[in-house]
């Protein structure tokens, strides 16, 4: 169970539990009468790739050779099951780097054009820190939320003892009775997006409450997309 440091509307803070809500598993591909496994396998050895074939056959136009024989197939290697692997980097010359490469961050605009290059900056997680997730002053009617933002993930916030039950039930009741959601965020003023692990996706987060007598649901809806269309020039450039 993961932890979240959260304030309520009055600014009182507590550490509570949360879980991600998942969709039901759908059908998988298989056979009715026997088990099958999905796995990766070696489809071509390095000599069977384009550059290797050009080098070996001495001609860019090696289609005829592929038809007449199977020069791209290395019978000793192809079909080998591939298990776990480790990522490595190759230099432009194709040599394995034995030290981590320098990394540069490239910013591309909506039109796909490069706008900036900069040194990457690590963004730490910020949901269970000394500074709690705070309510912003912004509350949005529930019907408006679904017309303004695309909710891609939902977390359910839960109590773990009597005190946190009262705390979360009160929060859910306040929001449900107003038919509103509260925009919550990280940082001193609660205006920063939530990041759940280092360099993870920054999310805008909306707290929704539902109450049925003593029962409650407190849901944290996460969005990284507004419900709007790209500007026509950007849409044209990127499609």
């Amino acid at each position: 169970m993961r932890k979240m440091h959260l304030t309520n509307a009055a600014g009182r803070d507590a550490t509570v539990d949360f879980v991600g809500l998942k969709t039901a598993k759908g059908p998988r591909l298989g056979l009715p009468d026997r088990d099958v496994r999905f796995r990766r396998y070696l489809a071509a050895a390095e000599g069977g790739l384009h550059d290797g074939l050009v080098e070996r056959l001495g001609d860019e136009e090696y289609g005829e050779a592929l038809v007449n024989g199977d020069p791209e197939v290395d019978l000793e290697a192809v079909g080998r099951a591939i298990g776990d692997t480790n990522q490595v980097y190759l230099s432009a010359e194709g040599d394995v780097l034995h030290a981590p490469p320098e990394v540069v961050e490239v910013i591309l605009g909506p039109d796909g054009q490069e706008q900036e290059r900069r040194d990457p900056k690590d963004e730490p997680a910020n949901v269970n820190e000394e500074l709690p997730i705070r309510w912003s002053k912004r509350r949005i009617p529930r019907p408006e939320l679904i017309r303004r933002f695309v909710i891609s993930r939902t977390l359910q916030v839960r109590h773990y003892d009597g005190l946190t039950y009262d705390y979360l039930h009160g929060m859910a009741k306040d929001l449900d009775s107003a038919d509103e959601v509260a925009l919550v965020g990280a940082g001193v003023t609660g205006n920063k997006p939530l990041i759940f692990q280092q360099n993870g996706t920054p999310w805008r987060a909306f707290l929704e409450g539902r109450v049925d007598g003593e029962r409650y649901m407190l849901l944290l809806h996460l969005s990284n997309l507004e419900l709007r269309r790209p500007a026509p020039k950007d849409e044209g450039a990127s499609s």
Partner: protein, 201 residues
């Protein structure tokens, strides 16, 4: 001819051209490029666990195999549910009218994990549906982009910019929490580690 999303409500069919909306078209995107000591862009590759093979792009394929190691052609595979029963393949919902259900409360859509968003352009639309959508009501239709063994839900919504959208995804089921019982602790593998970056406001 491009396929359309077609819905039928009270015997009237409405149809919409559609175009996918994604983050990069709205906000752009960030990429991290690894550079070699000469400042040239590196290539990513994979090293097998035993260190015997470097796998370059184009060297690896994937597929289904039986216990004997025999490859199963994709055309032989069928949809199988959790009990091992074969499920029928459902045709694409595009280009043919599907029933429109609703209107629904906003919380029904809030319980959906949206995976795709399409901006819609009405080619033919029922006036009553326009009025309902403009009033903020939401409707649901079954959605499969292509024939598949599973089917998603799509929700027809008018955005605050007055554009029409189809939000496609699958439902989640939050549970009521009550004071008498502490919540069941589940594995919190929250699938939040994708690499999207975001600066919305």
């Amino acid at each position: 001819m491009a396929r359309t999303i077609m819905v039928e409500r009270d015997g009237t069919v409405s149809s919409f051209a559609f175009k996918k909306v994604d983050r990069s078209k709205l906000y752009g995107r960030k990429r991290r490029l690894p550079l070699d000591p000469d400042g040239e862009t590196c290539t990513r590759a994979a090293l097998t666990d035993d260190g015997s093979l470097i796998l370059l792009q184009g060297m690896v394929a994937q597929g289904y195999f039986d216990d004997g190691g025999c490859w199963i052609p994709h055309g032989d595979l069928v949809g199988v549910d959790a009990d091992g029963e074969v499920v029928p393949e459902r045709p694409s919902t595009l280009g043919r009218p599907v029933p429109l259900e609703g209107p629904f409360e906003p919380r029904v859509l809030l319980d959906v994990r949206v995976q795709s968003v399409y901006a819609l352009e009405a080619e033919e639309i029922d006036d009553a549906l326009v009025a309902d959508l403009s009033a903020g009501r939401i409707f649901r239709l079954p959605f499969s982009y292509r024939s598949d063994y599973k089917q998603d839900d799509a929700f027809l919504v008018a955005g605050m910019d007055d554009g029409l959208y189809a939000l496609v995804g699958q439902s989640v089921e939050p549970e009521w929490c009550s004071p008498q019982e502490l919540p069941v602790i589940e594995d919190a593998d929250d699938d939040l580690d994708d690499e999207l970056d975001f600066e919305m406001f």
